[in-house]
Symmetry: C2
DNA sequence: TTTATATACCTTGACAGGCGATGTATCTTG
DNA sequence: CAAGATACATCGCCTGTCAAGGTATATAAA
């Protein structure tokens, strides 16, 4: 690792508790991207990697599994792009129900985040 | 629900995405309690409920499963209390390795939290 | 030409943590 | 005596993530 480069949170490798930390947030993160613009799986994953400085990369099985669940409950819809060159792309668009679900997810995340932060606060620790 | 009472995050019921949000944080939360003082399962769960105003309650199967894992990897040790009355209690004490693991977990949690918050930030949302 | 790399999607089986359900035992309160 | 609180434990299920493998097209290097 080049000096000065931060250690990535390697989702899925031995030193990572992180895939459990991500659990339940994957769909929210995807919806967040689709709030900004409709897009397709491969690009969304690249954008997430770029936005986090390479610290977060969704695995393909996780990514497509999440898209599948989101479409099944009507939070997104998909359609094939009309690319005349290169690999085909399946585009996703968020639905009104998806926007609502995102708002709800964000609220639940913020509540959970507050609770966890409260429970691991350092005041009063016993160092015997 | 009485007016003015906040809706609890009901871990495990139908409207709750929350048990997935908790995944991977259970052990950290238990270690956080044991940093403050050694204690036993039932009490720890009550303290967690009190500290979160009833918003978070670990299920017993979750609680004891987590203690079991923590002990298996040497992050806590357990011993039977010497109660002469009432139900027996299994007490837990955090080990030096457990303190180290907690510090690491907290760092990973904070990193994950930052990443998630960044990815769901609202700037630039597209409301077409 | 062949090979490798990037783009782009999909599926299968295994794994692990959380949960509902159930069981045990003791003590207190009505 | 029945009910509820205290206190611990276990079983099997469910679900999201992952490793591994597969398909196909385009471009760059050998």
């Amino acid at each position: 690792m080049p000096p000065g480069e931060a250690a990535a949170v390697e989702w899925g490798d031995s030193m990572s508790i992180a895939s459990d930390l991500m659990r339940g947030n994957t769909e929210m993160i995807l919806l967040a991207r689709l709030m900004k613009k409709e897009s397709y799986g491969y690009e969304i994953n690249k954008v997430i990697q770029a936005a986090t400085g390479g610290q977060l990369e969704l695995k393909e099985a996780t990514l497509y599994g999440a898209f599948c669940r989101l479409e099944a409950v009507g939070h997104i819809v998909s359609y094939w792009g009309d690319e005349t060159t290169g690999a085909r792309r399946r585009y996703y668009r968020i639905t009104p129900a998806g926007r609502q679900a995102f708002a709800q997810s964000r609220a639940e995340w913020e509540q959970a985040r507050r609770l966890i932060d409260k429970l691991i606060a350092q005041e009063g620790e016993n160092h015997d």
